[in-house]
Amino acid sequence: MQEESLLQMRHIMKRFPGVLALNNVDFTLRKGEIHALMGENGAGKSTLIKILTGVYQMDGGEIKVEGENVTIRSPQDAQKGGISTVYQEITLCPNLTVAENMFIGRDEKLWVRNKEREKKADEILTSLGIPARARQQLGDCSLAVQQMVAIARAVDMKCKVLILDEPTSSLDDKEVNMLFDLMRDLKSKGVGIIFVTHFLEQVYAVCDRITVLRNGELVGEYLVEDLPQVQLVAKMIGKELDELSSMGEGVEKKTVNNEVFYEAKGLSSSDALSFDFSIRKGEVNGFTGLLGSGRSESVRAIFGADKVNSGEVKVNGQQVKITKPIDAMKHGIGYLAEDRKRDGIIADLSVRENIILALQVLNGVFKPISRSEQEAFADEYIKALNIKTASRETPIGSLSGGNQQKVILARWLLTHPDYLILDEPTRGIDVGTKLEIQKLVLKLAEEGVSVTFISSEVEEMLRTCSRLIVMRDRHIVGELKGADLNQAQVMKTIAGGESGHE
């Protein structure tokens, strides 16, 4: 077993400010194997790849190639070590020929013999069965062929480990099959391939093994035949978070009022397809589905975060128009965005300013909240949500992820919303804070606030939501209530009918 292992990563640690991106992750790649690296966004797979290719430096752990320790400080190191990467976007030059693209930046000599180079390129292309000629302009080839040329370049650079990062996302079925043929061909030549993709079917079509990461931790390594699609989904979104399952049992979450607070018919936006949705006062519901299923896009449409195209919206039974965030805020809706860094925090501003921001906007430009009021609000919520910060004047950017999230929560709570949309409020934050946020959601619901809760962790949603809306391919494919609210049913609905691998 040990002889055939090509690449070994052991106890890999990587810390980013406030987040442990990789915690003690192991990964093994064997000769002549196609190995899928799976995980939801933020699971740590891109961090792992970037460590392997020298973009990031690891904080701990070791990497062995063919049994020998290697240090990878830069992409050049990785290349010398026989590790090549082909990215989703083509990183070659479309206005050069195929041959030039294959050799550019590699010829140590100044003197280049074109003829020789082209002959060699043609040989490689033929041997790999790539339908391209050396003298062709790369830009004239199809995307799939361009990708293959990139692979050919990597192969010719004596690569032992080939990383394919989402190579199929811009290819059609035929092209994908061409690519798969090439991958199988390389595999038979003894190259180890790490395959990163979001398409589950492709994993089962071409891979031998699957390694699943979640929250920066290794979930496990499995042979494809041992891990049916539904189980893979389960591993990716995490049902093994047992330490949390005890929580929430005591809290009665089904206290649902019958009054509808918000109702939308045929709501669609630039990013979300038309859908119907309603929520009652004091109800906690959830949108679930894999990444890219349209769950975030749908709730953004409710808040008017993207350009709203159509839809009839009623708040408290009154027909209203919500086309931009301020409209939604004026109707008592708050939205905690999925990407905290990009859409949530104002990094350079203090905790105080971040907390009062939404309320200030709601009050209008000409009614500034006085400094003393601001301080009182900030202190109140720092205490109430147990936000760990040096002072209320500390820039929010220097807080840990969990505390940043609490500040954003405080920001919305301060506006006393009737309806709060929380998109991934618990991503990338520690377990303790996750618990606090879940408890807070249930407490809000008890006070009559409607909450929409989105999380990649199904367990979390099962604990907090009384109704789950399941999405796949940007459509609502199911709504689960009562007895149906269990892990198996959710997995089944997410994976859909075509989960024939069981």
Binding site: P325, M329, D348, L357, K367, S391
Partner: protein
């Protein structure tokens, strides 16, 4: 508790102002060593028989007025848009031309016509500001590129308005704007700077513009999701700069009683941007301190006057200015700041360690 916090806030604010304050202190000390009487202020009687203050200090403070006023508006644009308006000089020439044009079209010049002329100049400058702002806020063009258009053609526009090379206005009131109000020994431009600074202070006190502008500048996407309209905030910053531009333009006209569309506030845009940078404001937008930019303006002016006083030929002045400014900007850069902080932290921990050993 609150007192302690307030003090903390004050020192935090000082952090940004440290460099411009130190720079101005160094310049002052340098000048005092060079010529102890450099900053002596005397009372002179000007041609109209008024007692007025005179001396290098007054020259510096007075001469920096337009720059300081422009720097205030530029700070706001920088904060909101993460870029700078390079057309302020050209726009000031337009505003000044409108000011003169209106004054000259009337039969006589009195306080009423001057106010009217100023208001019209303001409106025109605000319209041009809105034009720049639209390109930046609506079409997402880099501010420097967007304002390049007005930078290129602004002085030609001023030329058409003038209809001639250098129209002059002979009026006591206009002269008073750029010089001295009879009976007041302080130069009027200095008074205008103080008034403008107070207006900004009040603006930030009675509105939440400061917070909104900073939010837009730091994270436009998050600001939008908090109900702020970034387009409007950016546009507004350019319009406010327009007001500053027209004030500066009118002072420029008042100083000499003439408008020269080619030379009025020539190259002032670069000095303005530098004033903002020296003031410790991030040229990439976000948090800002208008006071910093004002001090920055005085740093630049002190430097210029110092060099003049040292008889440095004015062709060389620019080179010397460039050297000093590079120093200031590099010292204020995040890289150096971080290194410095690290160094200080290292020293502090070493000190702590040695103390611990000693104990």
């Amino acid at each position: 508790m609150s007192k302690k916090a307030a003090k903390k806030g004050f020192t935090a604010g000082l952090g940004q102002l440290t460099i411009p304050l130190v720079a101005i202190a160094i310049l002052v000390i340098f000048n005092l060593i060079r010529d102890p009487s450099f900053f002596s202020i005397e009372i002179k009687h000007n041609i109209d028989g008024n007692s007025v203050l005179a001396g290098n200090l007054i020259t510096v403070i007075n001469g920096a007025s337009e720059l300081a006023i422009l720097a205030m508006g530029m700070t706001l644009v920088t904060a909101a848009c993460g870029g700078q308006d390079i057309s302020v000089g050209a726009a000031a020439a337009i505003a000044g031309s409108v000011f003169v044009k209106v004054l000259k079209s009337g039969a006589s010049i009195n306080a009423g016509t001057v106010i009217l002329a100023f208001l019209l100049a303001c409106i025109v400058a605000m319209i041009f500001g809105a034009f720049n702002g639209t390109l930046v806020a609506v079409f997402n063009i880099q501010p420097m590129i967007a304002t390049l258009i007005l930078y290129t053609c602004g002085r030609s526009i001023a030329y058409w308005i003038n209809g001639g090379a250098t129209p002059t206005v002979d009026s006591g009131i206009v002269k008073a704007i750029g010089g001295f109000i009879p009976g007041v020994p302080i130069p009027t431009p200095v008074i205008i700077v103080v008034v403008m600074a107070i207006i900004f202070k009040l603006l930030f006190h009675f509105t939440s513009l400061e917070l909104l502008t900073q939010s837009v500048g730091i994270n436009g996407s998050a600001a939008r999701l908090n109900g702020i309209n970034p387009t409007f905030i950016k546009l507004l910053s350019f319009i406010i700069l327009g007001v500053c531009v027209s004030v500066a333009g009118c002072i420029g006209v008042g100083r000499l009683g003439l408008i020269n569309h080619e030379t009025l506030l020539l190259d002032v845009e670069m000095d303005t941007i530098l004033a903002v940078a020296i003031g410790g404001n991030n040229l990439g937008g976000g948090k800002f301190k208008i006071l910093g930019s004002i001090i920055g303006a005085y740093v630049i002016q002190t430097l210029t006057i110092t060099l003049y006083a040292m008889n440095v030929s004015s062709t060389d002045v620019k080179a010397y200015k460039a050297i000093v400014i590079i120093l200031l900007v590099v010292i204020g850069s995040p890289v150096v700041k971080k290194k410095f902080e690290k160094f200080m932290a290292g020293r502090a921990s070493k000190k702590a360690a040695s103390e611990a050993k000693g104990a």
